[in-house]
């Protein structure tokens, strides 16, 4: 038994780790329940399987084909988005949708139907998935797409790894002519600014996201920096090399992320933008993946780990539920330095359990300070529940099973598609 972790370093679990390196190999004979595990970039327990077996998928990291004319790429499910970018972007192809870290596997991106800064334009990850193969514990192999085995396709997208093991997938990439992003950073003084900028940028900008100062209170709620960008249209050299990353070698002491240090960080971050508005062009690496520059930054939160709270709620004017949520967080004084706000588009999600849906999404980290942290999140849940919103399983270690059922109405249809040999800590927690 080993002690695998998720990105938030909580909860603590044990599991047998079983590498799956060959996609054509038979489904492994295992007594206990299994769950695929990619790069473990989910925060809570949806990638964990306490006292069960984790099928480590990273060894399935081979290319199958890449058509440089059409941008169609077929690869094994353990290939990371980083590897796709390294192979394809120098040839003018880019991921149509990418989350805030490139160190996730294709299988993980499908299983959570991840979203990026362009959700309002492009939808979530499923939109670039043409098909994938699903290996189930009965040894069946099913090629799933929108036209073939569609019900298994829609159950496996955002299927939390419970419908079987994705062995390979085919993705449609998008063209770029430059690795640069034309970026604009605009200061926001309150939440009205956020909504005004989001509306204004909805058509003009492919990528929009806002960084919020979670400690700002009263009239300043929602102050921060609005970031929007488009791929540069002027052709330039597409080759690149990631800079050597810094690393956090050990868990940090717990004082590090106390309120004072967060205040200092926020002040510094906010100073990054001189004046009210700053424009320029930036390589796609720092634009999409600022956190990837530091390996294991999650250790900053110490050995007690941290929660990420990500919800989506209907907008409901400029003082709707998101205002209430930010207000409650600010008054609690528990905010940390990572808080991100974004308006999702209203495309119909393709996965039965897809999280990204029309509304406003907030993602914020909370260092684990025990009951006090849980209490705050329970209070935020009330607002989300009232508003008819949803929490993101990929980021969750503590949501209430009732809220899960309410937010994911296709749950029963989904449950029928689960592979009986599969389970996860998250799934069991939702069914106790």
């Amino acid at each position: 038994m080993s002690t695998p972790t998720s990105w938030g370093n909580l909860p603590h679990t044990t599991a047998t780790l079983l590498p799956v390196n060959r996609r054509k190999a038979a489904f492994p004979a295992v007594e206990d329940k299994v769950l695929p595990y990619g790069l473990g970039r989910s925060y809570g327990d949806s990638c964990l399987n306490d006292k069960g077996t984790l099928l480590l998928t990273r060894g399935m990291d081979r290319w199958i084909s890449f058509d440089e004319e059409t941008g169609i790429i077929c690869c094994e499910a353990g290939v990371s988005l980083d590897e796709i970018l390294r192979l394809a972007s120098p040839k003018g192809w880019f991921l149509p949708v990418t989350p805030g870290t490139r160190f996730v596997t294709v299988g993980g991106a499908i299983a959570n139907d991840v979203h990026g800064k362009n959700h309002h334009k492009a939808g979530s990850f499923s939109t670039c998935v043409l098909d994938f193969e699903l290996l189930r514990s009965d040894q069946s192999r099913t090629l799933c797409s929108r036209s073939k085995n569609a019900s298994l396709f829609h159950a496996t997208i955002a299927g939390l790894g419970l419908t079987g093991l994705i062995t390979f997938a085919t993705l449609q990439l998008r063209r770029i002519v430059s690795p640069m992003i034309e970026v604009e950073q605009i200061r926001m003084h309150h939440l009205n600014d956020f909504f005004r900028l989001a509306d204004e940028s909805n058509h003009s900008h492919e990528y929009t996201v806002a960084w919020i100062d979670g400690l700002a209170r009263g009239e300043s709620v929602g102050s921060g920096i609005f970031i929007r960008g488009n791929h540069a249209s002027e052709a330039s050299d597409l080759s690149w090399k990631a800079k050597k990353t810094a690393a956090i070698p050990l868990n940090a002491p717990s004082w590090l992320l106390q309120k004072q240090s967060v205040k200092i960080f926020n002040a510094l971050y906010s100073k990054k933008v001189k004046g009210e508005r700053q424009a320029g062009s930036e390589h796609f690496l720092p634009f999409f993946y600022p956190l990837d520059a530091v390996d294991n930054w999650n250790r900053l939160y110490g050995k007690r780990g941290f929660y990420q709270y990500q919800c989506v709620v209907p907008r409901d004017g400029n003082r709707g539920p998101i205002h209430e949520i930010l207000d409650r967080i600010a008054n609690s004084g528990q905010a940390s330095f990572l808080a991100v706000l974004k308006v999702f588009g209203d495309q119909k999600p393709e996965g039965l359990l897809s999280f990204a849906r029309a509304g406003v999404t907030l993602a914020m980290d909370f260092p684990n300070r025990g009951p006090k942290t849980l209490k705050l999140m329970n209070e935020l849940d009330e607002v989300v529940r009232q508003a008819g919103g949803a929490l993101y399983p990929a980021k969750d270690a503590r949501m209430n099973p009732e809220d899960f059922k309410m937010a994911y109405p296709a749950l029963n249809t989904f449950t029928e598609k689960i592979d009986p040999a599969f389970s996860s800590s998250f799934w069991r927690r939702m069914h106790t």
């Binding site: 590498p19 390196n21 094994e76």
Partner: protein
Amino acid sequence: MTHSNSTTTLILGATSAMAEHSARLLATDGDALFLAARNPEDLAPMAEDLKVRGASAVTILPAFDALKPDTFADIINQAAPFDRVLIAHGSLPDQEDCQDSLSKIKQELQINFQSTVDLCTLCAEKFIDQGSGTLAVISSVAGLRGRQSNYIYGAAKGGLNTFLQGLRNRLQTKGIRVITLLPGFVDTPMTADIKKGPLFISAEQAGICIHKAITKSKSDIVYVPSFWRFIMWIIRSIPEPIFKRLKL
């Protein structure tokens, strides 16, 4: 199917995790690759992958089983002419399970020593005819000192080290390189059941070292990674009267 302008490399035991990661980098260089392994069907996904990475050609050879020496000459003839060979296959037996069984010892020595000696001899012959070539063999630091916990494997690798040394000595005037690769601990299927400590490196990192050893470095004996040179220097300098009492 050799391409006149690209280097051709033959890989024996190509399904090995270290060999696969080395092959990926050779593919990126545009090499033409010949792959041989016990189960050729396992090589198909690897071959697809290597083509996407830029290999100018990838050919899967008929089954290569280290326990079937009669097939070796044919496998090598099918790949020839080639510029380089990487011999990677190996087996890490459970010491207690094999130390008292003559047949098991024989089998392990066949896989880890005799088969490689045969293959090297056949390849050397080709390289001598060609007047050039690089022969790279994955041995092990375990061959540098005998220990009770794995001396059958260690003896095979140790014998291999000596064999390669002699072969290098013989071939050095003929423009043929002989490289002894000495990995320490690498996280591969071979070590799946061993608890991973800080000395372990990934198969990908090992691949980077091996690729560099084959394509760039001039060294004859390459530790994978290099810090094992230091560790083994210490281990080798412990006097035998003391060493024999240690539980290693």
